[in-house]
């Protein structure tokens, strides 16, 4: 609607709270982080300008480099393993096999449980002595593969990452809804042309559901970059910082009263996030989020 004169005050009144909150909690924090990333500050004393020192320090810190690479692995696995798996499940359910609604409900179920509760649950699954995983290995006769999953250098990071990749419900539901919105006519025409289900999926469904798939890739990759609770609960970054991620790193720096390096790490995280978003948008599709 066009704005009537007498509505102007109302519009201003209604927009003010949103604008204030958004400015305070989204715009101001980013500016603040950029400024603090150039000072040395414990959060208590007077900040001193140090130029790019903080950035030099974190990029010379092996733990931070390890964190970046862990996050990138995480984001790539999320975008290109988790989401394709979700798309596959959505394709299967789009033909409405028996009980498809139950599958949909159950797949989404882990998403309503908190990351903390899930991580605590999985620490029980991975537990060396009485955990579900080692117990399962014993039962199926692969007992020699038993290990301390979260405490061993080789298995720690994969263990933290993998359990989470198979919770696909959120993305599955978004893609499934998009697929179910595709008009049936397309498929009828394809059937007359003799195209089987797999050809139909590849040539009709996937291209038409592209917008939602790309949105899911974006959301999943950002999710991979901002992991914290899982790692914090399962390993707290250990063993030997093998499972550290960027948010855990900046949290620990903050707890060590090194606000400058913590902010620099946060700025790097936001920058990487922005690059990832722009790359995905430019290569896969512009019309998303």
């Amino acid at each position: 609607m066009n704005v009537k004169r007498e509505d102007r005050v109302g519009i201003a009144v209604f927009l003010t709270p949103v604008l204030v909150l958004f400015t305070l909690f989204f715009i101001f924090p980013i500016i603040y982080l950029i400024i603090v990333s150039f000072v040395e500050w414990s959060g208590l004393d007077t900040p001193a300008f140090v130029g790019f020192q903080n950035y030099l320090r974190i990029f010379n810190d092996k733990v931070f480099i390890r964190s970046i690479s862990n996050n990138l692995i995480w984001a790539l696995c999320a975008g290109f393993i988790q989401v394709p798996l979700a798309v596959l499940a959505a394709l299967m359910l789009s033909y409405r096999p028996r009980g498809w609604k139950i599958f949909r409900t159950v797949y989404f179920f882990p998403k309503v449980i908190s990351a903390i509760a899930l991580a605590t649950l999985w620490s029980a699954v991975y537990n060396a002595q009485y955990g579900l995983l080692n117990g399962l290995l014993r039962v199926i006769g692969l007992g020699h593969l038993q290990t301390n999953w979260l405490g061993t250098l080789k298995t720690a990071f994969p263990s933290v990452l993998i359990y989470w990749l198979f919770y696909i419900g959120y993305y599955m539901i978004i893609v499934l809804a998009d697929i179910q919105g595709i008009p049936q006519d397309y498929y009828e025409a394809a059937e007359i042309d003799g195209a089987g289900r797999i050809r139909q999926s590849l040539n009709i469904t996937l291209p038409l559901a592209k917008t939602s798939i790309v949105t899911c890739i974006l959301l999943a990759m950002i999710d991979g970059l901002r992991q914290f609770a899982e790692v914090y609960i399962l390993t707290n970054g250990g063993p030997a910082n093998r499972t550290s991620v960027m948010v855990l790193y900046l949290y620990k720096e903050m707890q060590n009263y090194s606000y400058g390096t913590s902010s620099a790490a946060a700025v790097v995280l936001i920058a990487i996030g922005t690059v990832v978003i722009l790359t995905i948008k430019n290569t896969l599709g512009r019309e998303n989020l």
């Binding site: 609607m1 909690f25 908190s114 117990g135 696909i168 946060a266």
Partner: protein
């Protein structure tokens, strides 16, 4: 063959989504001895006293109360503020409208966990550190982009004619919002509200950062201390975890249609 693969994949994902939780639920009813001996056995006698112990040791009732207060208030505030913003942005043409829409939705993709220092400094400087008010404020704010986004989608679909008729009847801006557009966007408001509530209920990072005393601790923060509180009494700790996720499961069972409808409405897809 293809059919077989399909069912295998679907069922594996199904089992994966529920089995760990079910395993934990069964384990929470065993004795510690039974758990050590065989992680898969059913309990000889169902140990319901594990739950009693879980309640006493963890003090989870109080944590739940805190979580309910914080999540409810943050949801109410968030939905009210987001609806007001969504109303102006989705139904009026004015300069900067499009810019604000894009700006707000870009907030959805900001990795909020990176903003710990600014949020800490901000909440501290207004004297809300270690208070429920601080968490309510932060939770209200961080849900603004997604809530506004969802509600905008629903409000845009309310026909203009309804509002125009109301204008002729002399209804002012506020009256049109409260009696026409807001009630007709109920589905969107409930969806956004459900999401917001679950987000608040499950939030950990800022609950951990912005509080220090037991009096304002939320459930998620409580779970973190379970390993200390219960030490080697694993089965009682499992019982406490089950108790802590029951409200989420309950909310999901009650509101699953809204949640799925919200995701499928096209609102989240952009």
């Amino acid at each position: 063959m293809l059919n077989l693969v399909k069912w295998a994949v679907l069922l594996l994902l199904f089992v994966y989504a529920v089995f760990p939780v079910l395993w934990l639920a069964v384990a929470s009813l065993k004795t510690n001895g039974e758990l050590m001996a065989n992680p898969f056995s059913l309990p000889e006698i169902w140990q319901f006293q594990n739950y009693k112990k879980a309640l006493t040791v963890s003090g989870i009732a109080r944590l739940m109360l805190n979580s309910v207060i914080i999540s409810s208030l943050a949801t109410l505030l968030n939905i009210l503020i987001a609806s007001m913003g969504a109303y102006t942005l989705s139904r009026f043409k004015f300069r900067g409208n499009q810019f604000l829409k894009v700006l707000f939705s870009s907030g959805i993709l900001i990795p909020l966990n990176a903003l710990m220092i600014p949020y800490f400094v901000l909440v501290n400087s207004i004297g809300l550190y270690n208070t429920m008010g601080g968490l309510i404020l932060v939770y209200t704010a961080i849900g603004i982009p997604i809530s506004t986004f969802i509600i905008m989608g629903f409000m845009a679909s309310v026909p203009d004619e309804l509002e125009e008729a109301a204008i002729i009847d002399g209804a002012c801006f506020y009256k049109r919002f409260f009696t026409i557009v807001f009630p007709l966007s109920r589905a969107g408001v409930v969806t956004a509200g459900t999401f917001q509530f679950l987000t608040c209920w499950n939030e950990f990072v800022y609950a951990n950062l912005l509080t220090s005393s037991q009096a304002v601790r939320t459930v998620q923060l409580g779970i973190r201390y379970f390993t200390n509180q219960f030490a080697t009494d694993y089965v009682s700790m499992y019982a406490a975890i089950i108790i802590s996720i029951l409200p989420s499961i309950l909310a999901y069972v009650l509101f699953q249609n809204q949640i799925i409808a919200g995701l499928t409405s096209g609102a989240v897809k952009g």
